[in-house]
Subunit: 284 residues, 4 copies
């Protein structure tokens, strides 16, 4: 089976993964309108190609918050990589390093931050954070990530509650017993791990812009907010002193009915004014 | 079979109901353009989600004509519930009370208004009225509903004649002999019950805005008009002193070619000016 | 098989007609874009229904060039009815009379004009004319139609050449030997009847607006031009003194790429100014 | 199998060609959005047909760069005709001459320019050029084409690199061993012919508008640039003194996401000002 394009990898995964794992990776929230629109919006883009330019020297390198990457695509934070591959996030870290781009490791990794850092020493990595009701858990993770050489802190802002992914509910999605959310082992009491490997309602839905100052007090890392979809929130991000935003609808896995990431008509001027501030667009 | 979303209930119903009952519930008029557009119009709605708000306390309560409901969705009037469940409208009344919202009982219920009222004492209920050529029938129903504690009178305005639902014609739809339109037992002479359990042409197609005054003379209940689709009619509703309107195309079962309820571009200003006047949007 | 709507008749015809006959009736030109758009354009129409009007008395009668019809739909000219029914156009004439509307009999009928007239005495009928290179044929038909009591002359303007209906070419469409174009028997020499029952190229592609004056010299019947799709041509029709136009793209059987009849944005003011002039819209 | 329209030829080819050849001819780049949009854009075109014109004399002749062709359609340059027919481009040349139109012979023909010229003496032909890194190859081809009587030089501007046609990659597309790119035999050293019959990266991606002057120095033939999709490039073409442009997205085989050729909203005024300059639109 030749792997010629992303669709080939997708078909391969659907064929060889257990249904419960495939459904988890492929999920969108509710009717999946936003997930599907994410793809369709790309197809509607039309280029205006110019001809007879000297394109013998191509250079796709760019910088993201001051660090060079070899092409303008990074790896968004996603959890549970061991569902797809026994090596889990260690493989992802190695691949990102090999390709010379940024890997954002998820709070919900099935490898620990130490394992990820050790798998690809010197790789360019950010750490993605969910803030839990138990703030001590979150503080410890941020500080551990900084100590391990992660170079940015990505706060996911669009998951005060988890979106309803119908197939996960139908499948009764659970992590297999031999997989753990390694970064959160021992973080919670009791044995109920029914919500994507965590106790129900462990995430803190009361997080507001003021918590950016709390995060700032924990770390010297640049702070990037992931999940911004409006001009108003981009302006608030600037006003709260963050170093970047990631435009994202969480791959259509959170609010169904949110606009496609790539067609989002947000006014970007505020988010990109300052030279050292980043602006990314995320397919997740 | 996990019941995760409305579509799951729909699939369950299609699988287990007799075809004639399913076809009746699923019907749209003629080509079903309006019925289908009702769904599609929802999918075209796009949100502009804002992030990092404290959403730890969620309150979906609202008021409808002064009465609190636990969330802004009510149960539209639909007939023939015994086709789906032996307990019929009694079950619906109990469910509405349990969920803390409004149930609009249909003239064409297969349980009587007494049975409905007794099934869920203290529940918040309105009564939906079709006006028959035999006005004595309608007057009696209105007065009975008020006496039984129904708190609103909903006049359906979009059914001077019944829409042509093709599968019902093909199936020769008839109520099974053991079901009755309990509210209309003894109301009509002769034995022909071929039009949805009633004699043909029993509805009065000459009803006009002036009949609102007649209804007002019968009852102290607030009057709500269901089936309004234009700004002009909304203004007429205000001028005739009704307490509310329900924007509805009758679930696409009446005039095929009517706009989707949720995309209706009616100017709402007139209909919502007065504090005590209601405005609802109806999927039926 | 219940016949509830036009689609049911269509399905019935497709099932029971010989393929060659069905393909002929269902044909559109080339890619059938216009034929299909004719249907789709209807589905895009949205009504703005008004409520609470007295609709107990419904009257669908209207007048067409001064003659009353019972509802505003007539029967467009189509040929070869014996392909569908042994009685051919005689049945159509009887049905039109029974329904109280206008039947436009085609030049390409498989019954003669006498037979059609005799089948439904006193029926309201127009005669549709194609102008042949042999003008004597056309003159005779017009005069015969007038003598037989036809009340209007419909000139088809959109068929200087016959559209390419692919399935007819693939099927090698021919009239079965026992069917004849009765109005044209003996009108042409030789035996080649390969173009829809006629010698190839028998139609006159040099017809222009000036030929309206020729037609006027032949008959006192009102002249209606069928196939107008632009404001400019509607104005020319008025200027040439015709009594009516029929907006039509020939059911999508002629120029593929013509607009849908019902969505045609032609400015109708010119064509409908004069009280005695007609304006029809044609699905054929 | 009746051959009634282009789609019939397409279906015939798909049925009888080896899959690898069909896939090559049918290919679009990447997701094939542009290839598919090329067809869809045609279907969206609507005519405004005028009636009652004398169309007995039809004349489709036109001129292209001063030479008369019998109808306004030419044959775009495409390679590898022997994949479809043993006679290869010789057949195409004969057909073009028989139809009285222009044939643009591709650099990547499986017949030599001599064979093509000899197959249809006196036919109206242009030569399509790709510029190779080895400029001597290109110079020789241009001069040979002029010597053989080709009347125009078409420079393809939209292929600095070859588009990714997924099925060709999956099929490991190679020319069968008995076919050769006859115009390029002996032009390259080594044996690697893996990129559509050529050594990898043999095309020169550094070609710019200045190379027009180099081409001009090689030949007296009119120069036409194929692949222009923007007003800006059309203006540059005029400024560099070329005699014509061909609006083309290479049949959707190069940049996926380019607009449909027929819907391209380029401002044509510049490209068509001069009487002797040509403007064509290309489906390839």
């Amino acid at each position: 089976m030749a792997m010629v394009c992303l669709l080939d990898f997708e078909a391969y995964a659907e064929k060889y993964l257990p249904k419960i794992a495939w459904d988890f990776f492929a999920a969108g929230a509710d009717e999946c309108s936003t997930r599907d629109e994410n793809i369709l919006a790309y197809k509607r883009i039309r280029f205006r190609p110019r001809m007879l330019r000297d394109v013998s020297m191509l250079d796709t390198r760019t910088k993201i918050l001051g660090t060079e990457i070899s092409f303008p695509v990074g790896i968004a934070p996603t959890g549970f990589h061991q569902l797809a591959c026994p090596d889990g996030e260690k493989s992802t870290a190695r691949a990102a390093k090999a390709m010379g781009t940024c890997y954002i490791a998820s709070t919900y990794s099935t490898c620990s931050l130490e394992e990820i850092a050790a798998a690809a020493p010197g790789g360019f990595r950010w750490f993605q954070l969910y803030i839990h009701r138990n703030r001590a858990v979150s503080r410890q993770l941020v500080q551990q990530a900084e100590a391990l050489g992660f170079q940015g802190l990505v706060l996911t802002a669009d998951l005060p509650y988890t979106g309803k992914r119908r197939n996960d509910v139908r499948n009764g999605f659970q992590l297999p017993p031999h997989m753990k959310l390694k970064n959160l082992e021992g973080a919670f009491e009791g044995n109920d791990r029914s919500e994507y490997g965590l106790p129900p309602n462990s995430l803190d839905p009361s997080v507001t812009w003021d918590d950016i100052y709390w995060l700032r007090s924990l770390t010297h890392l640049p702070i990037i907010i992931k999940g911004i979809l409006t001009k108003e929130d981009a302006e608030l991000a600037v006003r709260h002193g963050v170093q970047g935003i990631i435009v994202s609808n969480h791959g259509g896995r959170q609010l169904d009915g949110a606009p496609a990431t790539v067609s989002e008509k947000m006014d970007h001027s505020s988010g990109t004014k300052s030279g050292n501030r980043g602006y990314c667009q995320c397919s997740r």
